[in-house]
């Protein structure tokens, strides 16, 4: 019996390590290639580090796209999206969690339609809507469709409902107005839900490509993913993969660092994102 479970344990360990290494391989390979001298085949020099370790490929990648600018644009895009979302989502979540009003269920269903018809598949009509509003190629156009979030509203409504109503009543008796009640009673008691929503929102918009690509034309406002696309297209035309790998590392590093810092929160918040 013990011997059998010992074998099972060993099999599990080997299996974990094998799958883990296979999954890690692309990242390791990318890093190694990005610090090799340009255009050096893998067979030359040390198999891991080539003939020397150099950052010249990063230099090349930097020459093709203005990464600093793209970083700035991505930060404005995801930050601006999140900030407004936090406001709209908090208001709606409070109304649906605590207030009674005519048409409540119907309006809730209308908002939940966003989960069933996600913006991502509505590219063509949202493109038209942005054009009608005269917002094509603006920062606002990038963010506007995401400023209302049914996912965030659901997440916070649930969290707000778990706050004891007595806390709100006590605050009211102390003379708190609505804004103070929301801030000091609800928001402070729903921090984990806010963290979960923030991480999902930040990472999904940081990674977004199709919408930013379609709705913008000027380099000055385009985010990182669109910059990376430019590098991919240059590689297509016969340039070398090394600089593409360097560019990829430039794009993915912030999220990987954020993940290493907040590993547990990330896993928990992604686990809630299934209803997205």
């Amino acid at each position: 019996m013990t011997r059998k479970s010992g074998v099972a344990q060993a099999v599990a360990t080997v299996l974990t390590a094998t799958i883990g290494l296979v999954f890690l391989l692309p990242l390791v390979f990318t890093i190694l290639v990005s610090i090799r001298p340009e255009n050096e085949p893998v067979t030359q020099g040390s198999i891991f580090f080539g003939s020397e370790i150099t950052l010249s490929l990063y230099q090349h990648a930097l020459n093709i796209a203005p990464w600093g600018l793209h970083y700035f644009n991505s930060i404005i895009f995801v930050g601006g999206t999140l900030l407004v979302q936090l406001f709209t989502v908090t208001c709606a979540a409070y109304a649906f969690a605590r207030l009674r009003f005519w048409g409540r269920n119907l309006l809730l269903v209308v908002i939940l339609l966003q989960l069933m018809i996600p913006s991502g598949v509505l590219l063509v009509q949202n493109f038209r809507m942005i054009n009608l509003l005269g917002l094509f190629d603006t920062r606002l156009a990038l963010m506007l469709p995401y400023w209302g979030s049914a996912f965030g509203m659901l997440l916070l409504r649930q969290a707000f409902r778990e706050v004891p109503i007595e806390l709100e009543e006590a605050a009211r008796i102390d003379g708190a107005n609505l804004l103070q009640v929301i801030r000091h009673v609800y928001v402070v008691n729903a921090i984990p839900a806010y963290v979960a929503f923030a991480l999902v929102s930040l990472s999904s918009h940081w990674n977004e490509f199709l919408w930013p690509f379609i709705i913008t034309r000027s380099e000055e406002i385009r985010p990182l993913t669109v910059g990376l696309n430019k590098l991919i297209k240059t590689t297509d035309q016969g340039a070398f993969y090394g600089q593409l790998m360097a560019g990829t590392i430039i794009v993915i590093t912030p999220l990987v660092i954020l993940f290493l810092l907040f590993q547990r929160q990330f896993v928990e918040s992604f686990a809630r994102s299934g209803i997205r």
Binding site: K4, S5, A8, T13, L15, T16, I19, G20, F23, L24, L25, F29, T30, V42, F87, V89, C91, A92, L99, V110, I111, L113, L115, M116, I117, P118, S119, V121, L122, L123, V124, Q125, N126, R128, M129, L144, P145, G148, S203, W206, N207, F209, L210, L224, T225, L228, N229, I232, T235, Y241, L244, M245, G247, L255, V256, F259, Q263, F266, F270, G274
Partner: protein, 306 residues
Amino acid sequence: MIAGAWRHRLTARVLPYLLIAPTLVLVLMFNVLPAVNTVNDSLYKPARGLNAAGKPPQFVRLQNFADILDDSHYMGQRFLRSFRNTLIFALATVLVAVPLGLLLALLLNRPQQLLGVWRFAVFYPALLPLIGAASIWSFIFSDSIGLANAVLRSLGQPGLNWLGDRNLVLLSVIIVNIWKQAGYFMIFFLAGLQNIARELYEAAALDGAGGFQQFLWLTLPLLRRTLLFVSVISFTFAFQTVEQLQALGEGGPADSANLLLYLIFQNIAERRNWGYVNAMTLVLIAVVLTFTLGNFLLFERSENDR
């Protein structure tokens, strides 16, 4: 005094609507109205030719749908191929990435050395931008210097044209998606596993059930709901995750690996075929809506049952 009370009541009446107004208006503008407009615009054909500018689109009833379902029409060929590919892509994700996610959860739910490293190893792909993940794999799949062919050649096999061979591109895209999604699905199973009481396993062990029997008769039935949920979301996600194609052959030769949403994206980016784009979008909406609605009703109802 009376005026004050009246004002107070009015505010209380209006307040809820003010609070939900921003979210409601945005959802109406960017989800509901676009969906309705998709239906409408799919019934029109834009004016064509030299003097087309300024002319109104022509009402063509269901002609756009007839065209995209017509095997001999150029758009029909593209649509049908992409739709078939999307189904294969979605089924492959459900059949491989979901069981792999479950396996990973079972493996990583036990105490062991380097647990943090392995968790990172299988979860980081889920964090990457699809287009970044794809750019990494475009190198792995590259013909002469890529890792995939290096492995094949070291085994004495000829290298393959992973992103250029029309029989192979879809498989390459599927491989990338499995690598990207398995870790994401894993976390749902991990959450499910952690909800199963330890005592159940202890009782099963006392009754003489081995590891595999415990999995078959205890873990699997208790994870049934999670399994169903993850399968449904992975199927619908597959219809929405297409950005990787930008770096993995752009749909392959003759749309051999094109996916529906990417075909739509290509047509928007090239400012073409407005009526067709809307007709294709409507098909996409119908599929996604059916599955998310089904998922929602299924799980909302069982939430209420508890």
